[in-house]
């Protein structure tokens, strides 16, 4: 692989990993917040109007920010009836074509996300709930996660092409 592309793949991998390592710990934030909220409701009869929405925001941040890292870990399942029988090179060649489908989907996702986030920023959109938090921050976080997933998918594409051509990736 040409040097600039190699640097790109390495940079995207590093970024996905860092972001994913951050997202991994959000599970403890979710668990802790829920336990504290449940305890304080049972013990002191308090209720928090921010609880439900905060949890929803955390869940979305968790899986969108962790997306690229989970792709690095190879967590996304495939229907591998034929796939598993192919040689590494055939797999890479087929993947190089079909990963463009994933890239297209992610690009559409990012396009929709960006226009939605821009709208939220411009008009100061808030959630339709009693708590009514601004929507822009979570939408920007969502876009960030999707964007890194998109970068990761393009890095995979480069790796697949390299492998299909019999080139070394590293």
């Amino acid at each position: 692989m040409p040097r600039p592309l190699r640097l790109y793949v390495r940079a995207v991998d590093a970024l996905s990993y860092r972001l994913g390592r951050l997202a991994v710990y959000l599970i403890f934030v979710m668990m802790g917040t829920l336990l504290v909220a449940a305890f304080s409701r049972v013990a002191f009869n308090t209720s928090y109007i921010w609880l439900v929405e905060t949890m929803q925001f955390l869940l979305v941040a968790y899986f969108l920010l962790g997306g690229a890292y989970s792709m690095q870990l190879g967590a996304h399942v495939r229907m591998d009836l034929f796939y598993e029988r192919w040689s590494e090179r055939t797999k890479a060649a087929v993947d190089a074509v079909t990963i463009c489908c994933l890239i297209f989907y992610l690009a559409m996702l990012l396009f929709g996300g960006w226009s939605s986030a821009e709208y939220a920023l411009r008009y100061g959109e808030t959630s339709r709930s009693a708590w009514s938090p601004p929507m822009a921050p979570i939408k920007i976080v969502m876009c960030l996660g999707i964007a890194v997933m998109l970068l990761q998918a393009t890095a995979r594409l480069l790796k697949n092409v390299a492998r299909a051509l019999g080139d070394t990736v590293e």
Partner: protein, 441 residues
């Protein structure tokens, strides 16, 4: 394009892409996004992201990563292994005892876990090598593990039933209760089959040799029972708090996750490595499911919005002039067909919005239907030539277990599950009496 043509193109395109071995999220997402862009008109380019916003609105989905965490914490810290040893020692003297014990372990694990993947992983890593070593028949082993892991999403807590509850707008507590008796029924049928079969053909599952049995003293045997107490305590704490209304559904899943962590800490197994491994696997599995759900939601919305829903309803009710029961059976068959390609969550998100209104229109109980759906999904996973469980099993089993062995091994168990499904279909009371008992009519 006509409704029928759209339905065919979208489903066909998705299956074709799945066959290339691309990630499931890519295949579903691509078809959904391109159909939205080409056919939907105004707002079509926003549909993929709108599906992400729908995920944001589904509060009960927060239980998904928490239940996944709970399952991995229990298996990574070796608590499931202790559980297996207990069943092993107590059921070992019987013919086929280890296989029966495996079903018992799976049942206990599914009571602490919302997905079937974790049960399969534990079965393949702990139970499989042990049974191989004792000269159990290969077919008996893989069949048992696959059948046992299917209990995972039927016995509460079940993530699949949570998702069904969100989509069908049914109370999740009732759905969970409705799954208990059918889950126990299936487990019972499996145990009877293994017991009778191994009694008739002892070479399939030889009992533990006498000498080895005497090596374990009664004191040890009793001590092992404590391992079995842990899942019971966790299960009843979590479910007790939920069903008495002390904690909400999502809070209960946090209680479950925290109690698994506490148990691991109390057993001095909560090391840095165990924790890191658990949270990393939790993220992988949760991301996999949630990205697929997000893509499937977009697919479902486009499919629905373009009128493909009417194509299917029209086909069943007017085209083939089916009665209510025939429609129900056709639906189950279509699940088996789709389940060969898709996993349960993706299939649920795509198909449930089409089928649930139809089920209600035909006068069936949607809670009962949720249980039928879950059992059917599991049958679909285990049906050759394609099935998620079959591939998972192949990936996890040692090399001398061929795909052919795995196909052969599940035949009797699929038969039992079909029997179980028929029983639950014929007697809806089996699944409904428990929710009715707890919540009243």
């Amino acid at each position: 394009m006509s409704n029928e043509l759209i339905a065919l193109t979208m489903l066909g395109g998705m299956l074709l892409l799945l066959f290339t071995g691309q990630r499931v999220v890519g295949a579903i997402g691509f078809v959904a996004a391109s159909a939205a862009l080409l056919l939907y008109g105004t707002g079509g380019n926003q549909m993929p992201f709108n599906a992400a916003m729908t995920v944001l609105d589904w509060y009960p989905l927060v239980t998904l990563p928490l239940f996944v965490y709970m399952g991995y914490m229990l298996s990574e810290s070796g608590i499931s292994g202790d559980l297996y040893r207990m069943f092993h020692v107590w059921a070992g003297p019987l013919s086929g005892g280890l296989a029966i014990g495996t079903i018992g372990v799976m049942l206990a694990i599914s009571a602490m876990n919302g997905l079937s993947v974790a049960g399969m992983a534990i079965g393949a890593s702990v139970a499989l090598p042990e049974m191989m070593r004792r000269g159990y028949n290969k077919l008996m082993i893989t069949g048992t593990i696959q059948a046992g892991s299917s209990l995972g999403i039927l016995v509460p807590p079940s993530v699949v039933l949570v998702l069904y509850g969100i989509i069908a707008k049914q109370p999740i507590g009732q759905l969970w209760l409705a799954g208990i008796v059918p889950g126990l029924l299936l487990a019972g049928l499996f145990v009877i089959y293994i017991g009778v079969r191994c009694w008739l053909q002892p070479e399939l599952g030889p009992p533990l040799p006498k000498q080895e049995r005497e090596e374990v003293s009664w004191a040890d045997k009793l001590r092992l029972l404590r391992a079995g107490a842990i899942p019971l305590v966790i299960f009843f704490t979590m479910m007790g708090l939920f069903f008495t209304g002390v904690t909400s559904l999502v809070e209960s899943s946090a209680v479950g996750a925290a109690s698994a962590t506490i148990v691991a800490a109390a057993k001095r197994r909560l090391t840095w490595d165990v924790t890191q491994e658990t949270i990393r696997k939790t993220l992988s599995i949760s991301c996999m499911f949630l990205w697929v759900i997000m893509a499937a939601l977009c697919f479902g919305a486009v499919f629905d919005g373009l009128g493909a829903k009417y194509a299917i309803q029209g086909l069943f009710l007017e085209g083939w002039e089916l009665g209510p029961w025939e429609t129900l059976i056709m639906m189950q068959l279509s699940f088996i067909l789709l389940g060969m390609f898709l996993d349960d969550t993706a299939m649920l998100v795509i198909v449930a919005p089409l089928y649930v209104p139809l089920v209600m229109r035909l006068g069936f109980d949607p809670v009962w239907y949720g249980v039928l759906y879950t059992i059917t999904c599991q049958i679909a996973y285990m049906t050759p030539p394609f099935g998620y469980n079959l591939f998972l099993m192949k990936a996890m089993a040692p090399n001398d277990v061929t795909l052919r062995d795995i196909y052969l091994s599940i035949i009797p168990f699929v038969g039992i599950m079909v029997l179980g499904l028929a029983i639950v279909m014929a007697f809806p009371e089996l699944s409904l009496w428990l929710p009715n008992l707890v919540y009243g009519e």
